[in-house]
Symmetry: D2
Subunit: 134 residues, 4 copies
Amino acid sequence: MIEESIKIRVRYAETDQMGFVYYGNYAEYLELGRVAAMKKAGVSYRELEEKGIGLPVREMKIKYLRAALYDDEIEVITTIKEMPDRLIVFEYLIKRGEEVLIEAETTLFFMEKESNKVIRIPEEMKDQLKPFFS
Amino acid sequence: MIEESIKIRVRYAETDQMGFVYYGNYAEYLELGRVAAMKKAGVSYRELEEKGIGLPVREMKIKYLRAALYDDEIEVITTIKEMPDRLIVFEYLIKRGEEVLIEAETTLFFMEKESNKVIRIPEEMKDQLKPFFS
Amino acid sequence: MIEESIKIRVRYAETDQMGFVYYGNYAEYLELGRVAAMKKAGVSYRELEEKGIGLPVREMKIKYLRAALYDDEIEVITTIKEMPDRLIVFEYLIKRGEEVLIEAETTLFFMEKESNKVIRIPEEMKDQLKPFFS
Amino acid sequence: MIEESIKIRVRYAETDQMGFVYYGNYAEYLELGRVAAMKKAGVSYRELEEKGIGLPVREMKIKYLRAALYDDEIEVITTIKEMPDRLIVFEYLIKRGEEVLIEAETTLFFMEKESNKVIRIPEEMKDQLKPFFS
């Protein structure tokens, strides 16, 4: 299992006129969470793209339990519970202190960017992640 | 049942460097879809808020089947299948021509904005929606 | 001179907790305005990019006179006053009915996307715009 | 004079299909810069709003010299050069290492949120800023 936690400060631009973070903007926080989780295993998403591989999202599920507010410091805890193969599944908790704000899950797949063709997890990334799942 | 369809043109700002619409931005399209679906039944979301009632999202599920591209004209088809009470569920298809790009579902609840208290569907809105579900 | 007007409906996502459109989001409205202004002369920004040419912004000035609100129908009036060569300057008014909300100006340049090299206006686009400036 | 520097990591969501940060998104970085500059003088923008005072933007000017890329660590250096009264002017440099990417300036005013009435700088904030301008 890979688990990583990051802290994010809510920006003014991310709020809407209800006074909370706009519901679509949590997707950005999740993205930051999964980039951090991959980095923990030595995988740089930036480099992955530079090698011609993209990681598009196939599915997202979000439960909104409590709303984040402007200037809140929130914590995104991201876990990869199973060794990825064709798909990579990330689970997330977003918290403010001890309060859980968001529970979420995203499923992504690997894509050769030039051809837009679906591929398996690249060998190099497989080797980097394996030690976390044995 | 209420069903409504709207057309949206994808903006440049909505793309990311993978060349597709950023996965979090579909939430905006869904929002436009449900506003249109409510309007079909005579419910103005703007007026709802002016009367002190908000409609926060409790849950969102999105399946990304195909990616939308810059300048695409996409269609958001939104349906309310069951008469809402405490919760209101919207289902969505986003299409480009005959191709389905997105399948999604959101569940929202009613909130008294001043107190942030959860409430039932307002009586007036109930009366407006009822004829569609008998 | 080229002048074009488009109508845009303000989205909920574009507001912030002050209850107005977030100041950075007007940049999207300007983008829609200039795409429409170019289209009036037969220039498709999408096709320009498909031919390998980008139009990055070099400078933006915005005066915020009045705030746009959720669900407002606003009008973006975009003008190109001088025949572009190395640079292309767009001027904008954003109005709500008779009220002027925004005065803005952006300067863009032409770029060969593959090399990121600055170029002159493409010959084809020059021919399309010329009739408007004689 | 007040001067403050912050570091920001560019998010994937902030890029567009040209492969750079979308030109409108720099407004968010500027906002983070000025919040930090005010905090240096002990002024919390969050608390200012909680006391009923908003700081809308009246004018923004941005020069785009070089583009920021995904995952870049950029630095936003924000300065307040003159003691604010009715207006408060922020100047910004956004850098990546030694390279200057952006030069910008924004002018904001003080507003009583309940009435949307323009006001002078609040006395308490005046007292907090004064020591920096003598």
